[in-house]
Symmetry: C2
Subunit: 215 residues, 2 copies
């Protein structure tokens, strides 16, 4: 299977998918798009993904998969080893819940198109944009820290001692936070897990600065 990953080095959802592909040991062709230049808004791109978003995973037959979390679940079903979700429904619910705290409560508010919109519509300057970004990170990371630190199910990673879906989201979000100089000291469990993930080649190789289109 030849896979092509349509993505952008700094995109948090792209980082998630790169980490998942690396964990699964799947090679892929890296196809970069400069979001700020509108390269995902061209007719060709919109024909592939009407939402105009990255990442898109294209398969050898030309069919495509969209939405990072849907693609990661697909990868986990098609390539079960190593698993990115626990085997038991309760564990799976916990990991998905941790992942969605980031994917549904932080990232959608803090991606490039939203930051652009608050600048254009509400005149948010750099300081106001940073305040907006930081507010949504703190709202959820404070709750995530409590959830992780208060649970015996948290191990070396978010759930036990193998990295999975929640770790993938956490890792990508911490990188995203660095764009606004938000460091993780405030959240010791998140900081500890991030450091453990960052020591793994599958994650490190997925990090924004290590991509071919990194500035």
């Amino acid at each position: 299977m030849t896979l092509r990953l349509h993505n952008f080095f700094r995109s948090s959802t792209s980082t998630r998918l790169r980490a998942a592909l690396n964990l699964k040991g799947l090679g892929y062709e890296y196809v970069p798009y400069a979001l700020r230049k509108g390269e995902t808004r061209t007719p060709d791109y919109l024909a592939m993904n009407p939402a105009g978003l990255v990442p898109v995973l294209e398969r050898a037959d030309g069919t495509v998969l969209t939405q990072s979390l849907a693609i990661i679940e697909w990868l986990d079903e098609r390539h079960p080893e190593p698993p990115l979700l626990p085997p038991d429904p309760d564990g799976r619910a916990r990991v998905r819940s941790l992942a969605y705290m980031i994917a549904c409560e932080i990232h959608p508010l803090n991606n490039l198109r939203v930051l652009g919109y608050i600048g254009e519509t509400f005149g948010a300057d750099e300081a106001a944009t940073k305040a907006w970004f930081t507010h949504w990170v703190c709202e959820t990371f404070d709750a995530l820290e409590k959830t992780l630190s208060g649970s015996p199910e948290t191990g070396g990673y978010c759930h036990g001692d193998a990295p999975g879906l929640a770790d993938i989201c956490l890792y990508a979000q911490v990188w995203n936070n660095r764009r606004f100089d938000i460091e993780t000291e405030r959240w010791p469990t998140i900081a500890r897990i991030f450091a453990a993930l960052d020591a793994l080649p599958a994650f490190r190789d997925a990090a924004p600065p290590n991509q071919p289109d990194a500035a």
Copy 2:
């Protein structure tokens, strides 16, 4: 199994979970919270869910599940009939992608706490709030309409002829849109699917106006 649903009639994520519970034929005790009165920010509520969000599904043993999509996946694993996801990985990826278009691109930007924040921080008045809400709905519903109308996999519902996870998200979002008088004529496929869903008791009984705490 006795389930308690901690939720709010108008919350879109609560509507999703009510529809899923109804489709599975699972009864539950309805526990309402007035979000505007801060009833999900009390110490007791935060002890149950540190994120302070609805819905929460509490089981007979007092353990809780959070994040609507994680709970719905759990319900689907624990109570497989009728399935809310197709049996094949490609179909599951498609349905999850449609669901996440709504759950990760529209709803997080348009929930009560975000609308409150743009009012307080950027001084958005009613017209500006409506413009914000409408912008994010249209961005994704335009793409969703293209995706649904252009695919032979779309049937009476989002994927074939049985309602599932994507329909649950679509149904809840269309109800949410009505708060700002956004009607669905602009998106004929979405409108058709919503009408089909609204004719099903499982969905109709989950709709905001049909809840005990509806204003």
